[in-house]
Symmetry: C2
Subunit: 474 residues, 2 copies
């Protein structure tokens, strides 16, 4: 059998998907979730496979992959490791293009016979011309192809690609990023990286016209030189942010137990990332924050000067501290600029030096005037507006409705951004209770819709912007 | 007039409270909120004062403090700074014990005449024998006296005292801490510290039988020697956690603009805090986290070894990294201990070295067995259980109800804690949407009720516990 390697773009647009090991709801949360997700996304050809059932979640269920009447390009597997080799013969007979294994318990288990089994899988795949994703992963989502296998993934496509050696993170980043406006071109969980690996994915995404921003969670790379070249080439075309899992002794050995990754020293990895002009980040939250910043800060700031504007003395002191601890600068404003601000900000309860705190900084007109003035200051490169870190802006307290103000505040920020060429950023603190959630989510949605990056703490805003500026100044 | 200084305990149990500058709802959010809060708490004698109204929020409103028929011990002021001296004559005539100023625009404004006005306030107070709280603050809450002036304060009293130079933080820490089980003896926002200051408050709280834990947000101290002595004496009796606002250049000058605080270098302040055996923390979130740890970790851990248990490979790698980056240790488990764990944790999808990851670590029996084994390992000093950082434990996904599991999981942790003498800690990640909030809040409530510290990220758990252990080992 002569085989040309199946390309990633074929993997991302399967015509039919089989779910091997699918069971009625509740028994197999992975396959159940994937089927629900595919149905929700309107994927046209979903085939549960399990000899024990004739129907799963209302879909006809087949005894084997061979029995499926239609074309099957992708097979998602959640059966025990012991049974996978026989399955692969069926896949070969059906001429599938890719097989992704939720199934775990291979090389990462530390048992030699399981590592051998993994190698046998690869040999079968090579012989039959299909590709392997994983094992030990949650696979692929590609919204433009309606190929969505996670309930947490927005159906609407977008410009962010995320590759993740962890399935949990592959689900969580879209789940937490979606309300902040992130939409995805491709999300790939690739687990043990037996076949499809981070370097091939980077090569592909660098060229992918649907992808403008790449985020990556990587535990280990198998060929350092190849990875460095792929990363460098990708980062030359679009921003690539990376969290390297396993940066400590405990993290490293857990990464081996997780995906059989032999992680290198974090210092070496960090240096390599910087040399490749990618953006190394410090944890998963920061990866999400940096993706949000890269996606929405317009333009990306070209310096570390930040103006911080919002109501609340304590939050303003905290904001000053958080910005500068993260490596940004909060430039002191000249007497002339302060005099301009005093024309419409009250004396009592206000602070003018930067951060700017005034009780009326929840009023669109005051925000607009303030931001226009600050955006014209030379050593200020971005404009951060914060809300919800102070009782006067507590969500859902029943005393004030934010709804009528949100549009005008967003509009004020947008005009200042356009007039001054400095990006506006927003920090909103989520409430700890249900009472505040509708107000908070409405505010977040208003700012996201208007095109702003929204951060959930002053610290997170500061750290993400510091990462982005450092990269943008390279 | 001979005057003995009014004590703080008198300030914390006023018999009647006047709210000067009260207006109907919506116009004055401070006074409105305070009145609502006092009503909600069942405080018996609330007197709005404003010559423009005869009724405010359903209560009779008086033209001046002198006109109030009953006893008035505390006066809360939210009128412009220009009018306060005349008001103080009324307060003196009424023989009030304390006057707290929400009113701002004094020394912190930077104007000499406003600093003079502040001094005049103090002279009047000294001459008439009443005390000043603030100005530029939100004042006092003391739940046992039903003297609650913030809507965010739980009515039920508890052992945590919080003193805060920022009014915003004074409201926010209880707001965010309450769902995590924090209850308060006294919360005092003291603003510019014109009269009542951090040192007097520390002296009082050190002796206060209602207070077991002290948290403090301090921007500056006016008498460093006196503060150091007060801190040292308080910290000798109970844990004192401090966030020093204004640790950077921007934070420092903002602290001056906020409460006229001349902050010292953060290095000096940190050293001083450690010498006094208090617990310096890095921001307001960490202050809340440390208060939660001090309140609920039983016993407080005596070493940095942590066992991390939960489902999810990616989250486990992250957990290992976050723990060790924060200065904790995640000891590798001996082959004997790993063998014990393998008896009831499956091979596929599990990691045994510590962090421990297994798909059945959402099952109470597996959690119980795991925790009992780990708690007996000598170099493990605390047991962290995490949930909600992984899709299989995503809140509110409609595929699984956590409700029936929560009680048994909490019970499993409690038994392991009691059997091994190592504290159990819980990390739960809040959802980004409303759909997940009921599940998340139910889980949080179950763990809080069972007496565990609940943290909202792995990083926050790690950092708080590292602070607490460092202090507990001093």
């Amino acid at each position: 059998m002569t085989t040309e390697k199946v390309s990633l773009s074929e993997i991302f647009s399967p015509r039919g998907v089989a779910l091997v090991g699918a069971t009625p709801a509740g028994l197999s949360s992975f396959a159940t979730g994937a089927i629900f997700s595919l149905v929700q996304a309107g994927f046209p050809a979903i085939y549960p496979v399990n000899p024990k059932y004739t129907e799963v979640l209302g879909l006809p269920c087949y005894a084997s992959v061979r029995d499926i009447p239609g074309t099957v390009d992708n097979v998602m597997v959640s059966i025990p490791a012991e049974s996978v080799l026989a399955l692969l013969d069926d896949c070969a007979a059906k001429r599938v293009k890719s097989v992704q294994f939720f199934t775990a318990g291979f090389s990462e288990s530390g048992y030699a016979e399981r590592a051998e089994l993994e190698k046998a899988i690869l040999r079968k795949a090579r012989a039959s011309g299909f590709r392997i994703i994983g094992p030990n992963c949650v696979g692929v989502s590609a919204p433009k192809s309606r190929f969505i296998t996670s309930l947490a993934m927005p159906l609407e496509p977008g410009p962010v690609a995320f590759i993740s050696q962890s399935g949990g993170h592959a689900w969580n980043l879209p789940y937490f990023g979606a309300p902040r406006g992130l939409r995805f071109s491709k999300v790939v969980s690739y687990g043990n990286a037996l076949d499809v690996d981070e370097s091939e994915l980077l090569d592909y995404l660098a060229q992918d016209p649907e992808t403008e921003i790449i985020a990556a969670y990587i535990e280990g790379v198998k060929d350092g030189r190849r990875f460095f070249n792929a990363l460098k080439a990708a980062a030359a075309r679009k921003p690539v942010a990376i969290y390297k899992g396993g940066t400590t002794e405990a993290g490293q050995r857990t990464a081996f137990g997780h995906t059989a990754s032999l992680t290198s020293s974090v210092a070496i990895f960090d240096t390599l990332c910087r040399q490749a002009k990618s953006i190394p980040v410090d944890d998963m939250d920061e990866l999400t924050d940096v993706a949000v910043a890269l996606r929405f800060a317009r333009p990306l700031p070209r310096g570390i000067g930040v103006a911080v504007v919002g109501a609340g003395g304590g939050p303003s002191v905290l904001a000053g501290d958080e910005m500068e601890k993260a490596g940004l600068r909060v430039p002191y404003l000249s007497p002339e600029v302060q005099t301009q601000l005093r024309q419409f900000l009250p004396l009592a309860g206000s602070i003018f030096g930067n951060p700017i705190d005034a009780p009326n900084l929840t009023v669109p007109e005051a925000i607009s005037a303030t931001m226009h003035i600050l955006g014209r200051v030379t050593n200020i490169h971005m404009l951060l507006y914060h809300m919800g870190f102070h009782p006067i802006s507590r969500w859902g307290d029943g005393r004030r409705s934010w709804a009528p103000l949100l549009g005008p505040i967003a509009e004020a920020l947008l005009q200042a951004q356009q007039a001054t060429g400095k990006p506006a950023l927003v920090a909103l603190c989520p409430p700890p209770d249900i009472a505040g959630m509708p107000d908070f989510l409405a505010a977040q949605e208003a700012f996201v819709k208007a095109g702003f990056p929204v951060f959930h703490s002053l610290r997170q805003a500061a750290r993400a912007m510091a990462c982005v500026v450092a990269w943008n100044q390279m």
